[in-house]
Symmetry: C2
């Protein structure tokens, strides 16, 4: 059957009806790649799979939630969507709003956001307004606007976002025939770990008459300088090179703790150095280029392998949340350099060590 996006594929398990207009860019259905090279590098006998969410239309997992949020906004008669966001959320909101013929407004703090991060929102025709204030002011204003006008807030507090994002858990189970034993992922605003845990639990219930599905341990990783859940308090000035998880006060804090506790998992820390190590490993060993934040999942896996956490053969899934092309400057900084050689066979062969 021809693929038609996450809403049509999983409509029975999403808050849509026959009347909901479906706004889709054919998000989802992302590759689940067996990481045999990584397995050998780490010396484990578990199966490791990488869910490459960077191959969603706008380059991140946000599209799964946005297709539902924007479809519902259209159904509700909204004239616009609004978000306070500096990155992947604004890119996704702008793209889906374009497809839906809705206006999209993105509020950002003036002076705090590099233009490169906004290229997608801008080219998709969003109205990007830089307000004289900080990020909290931007989010507060977005909420106010959505309360007073027929404008739908599509930040992660919009519950339809979580609903759409849970479909990634469905896909993993559909691919593997069961849930994995361990599910590694980055944790920033914590909506995504909430969504995966919801997805695994719901799918287990849906299939309970037919077969008993596993529930994975949820292994979430925050960056060392932006780890409010691990520290137990909000972080005023979160710091990490992994911009997509640079969050000091996660919207889904409590839900993330529930996912951790109910699944007997962990929410732990990885350093920027460990994130960069995993980022390089993914690109040079598995051929997968990811956003730095995405590498937090694999950094967590590396950390737990080194601690001897896995005593027996298991099935492990790591979520790669966004494509590396979202942040090409980081690649240039981290990667090996171009070398200059003379234009003759011998010089080139020497450089190649042939």
């Amino acid at each position: 059957m021809v693929y038609q996006g996450v809403i049509r594929r999983y409509k029975n398990y999403l808050p849509v009806t026959e009347k909901t207009p479906i706004i889709t860019l054919l998000e989802g259905d992302t590759p689940l790649i067996e990481a045999e090279n990584l397995r050998v590098s780490l010396g484990v006998d578990s199966k490791i799979y990488l869910k490459y969410e960077g191959l969603n239309p706008t380059g991140s997992f946000k599209d799964r939630g946005m297709t539902v949020a924007v479809s519902k906004a259209v159904e509700e008669g909204a004239s616009a969507v609004i978000c306070a966001s500096t990155g992947n959320t604004s890119a996704s909101a702008a793209a889906y709003a374009a497809k839906a013929k809705l206006k999209c407004v993105v509020l950002i703090p003036e002076g705090a956001v590099a233009l490169g991060k906004l290229s997608q929102a801008l080219i998709h025709g969003a109205e990007v307004l830089a307000i004289k204030g900080n990020f909290d002011d931007a989010l507060h204003l977005a909420r106010e606007i959505s309360n007073k006008y027929p404008v739908v807030l599509v930040n992660s507090i919009n519950p339809h976002r979580i609903e759409g994002q849970k479909t990634a858990a469905f896909e993993i189970v559909d691919s593997l025939g069961d849930a994995p034993d361990y599910h590694f992922m980055p944790v920033g605003n914590a909506g995504n770990i909430t969504a995966y845990w919801k997805g695994y639990r719901e799918y287990r219930k849906i299939f309970q008459e037919k077969r008993k599905l596993k529930l994975p341990r949820m292994m979430g990783f925050q960056a060392e300088g932006a780890a409010p859940i691990v520290r137990g308090h909000p972080i005023k000035k979160p710091r990490t090179i992994a911009t997509a998880i640079r969050i000091g006060n996660p919207a889904s804090w409590k839900k993330a703790e529930e996912a951790r506790d109910e699944s007997k998992g962990v929410i732990d820390i990885v350093s920027d150095k460990e994130i960069i190590e995993a980022y390089r490993m993914l690109s040079s060993v598995e051929g997968l280029f990811v956003e730095p934040a995405s590498a937090a999942s694999v950094a967590g896996l590396v950390k737990y392998v080194r601690q001897g956490y896995f005593s027996q053969s298991s099935t492990i899934v790591c979520i790669l949340t966004g494509h590396g092309l979202k942040d090409p400057d980081r690649a240039i900084k981290v990667a090996r350099k171009v070398r200059v050689v003379k234009a003759d066979l011998k010089s080139v062969a020497n450089q190649m060590r042939l």
Copy 2:
């Protein structure tokens, strides 16, 4: 069934055997998106579909050919792959070589290539050598190396590249149940139009006992300043903002002319202005962000619609060859600008014209 990449999906129609090791990043299976908004904008009653090849693992259609070229290189016992490339080919070669545990060498002319274009090749661990010479010197050296050492050339003269790329035509037929009436695409080095035409013809033959498939008219578009096939002679200094088709002397020139003539299609010109217009239209009307070169297909469609080319309802497919994140600077240049507003409800609402 779980998707396993283009080689496993189409192995009966590709130059592989049971012995070929399959090096895949789960490329292919890209969305074919119905462009209803674009159809309405253009005022045609044909069905328009967009094949979004930017959702291949490295962000362009090159991955389809590279999975075959690199798999065959491993089968043949190569120790390295080499290419002369400044863009998408080098990104793809480096990623697949990483997965295959092969060395990858990329030759570029010194000083002629912006570092940003090389971020993928570098992060995937390719050895990028800037030679003191021009692009032709680089390609010549790459050929020489591949002749003298166990190193496989993966530039588009490698015939396995075309074989892999033809699978995109198979996917279109599989999705639509038939070939389209018109197939619009950008033409640069002309390998891709060669591959699609080969794919359509082969699939028609494969299915001939069961049902009679259509063959599309192949509608290829070169950029005005880089249109050697249209002009009838090589272009010494090709110029266009669409860097991925900035080619003055296409490797598959003759094959592209055959595709045009056999299919009763055209190879025609679109200006940079028309390319940018289509680029903006795709992102703001369909929510799809593409490389400028990709927009040449839709620019061609717009041109032919305006000329009254389509007299009756048809099925039209346009190929979008690469993701817009490959060239974010172009988006910033072309898109609307950020506006600064005061951080209060009224100011924001006014800007939003609520």
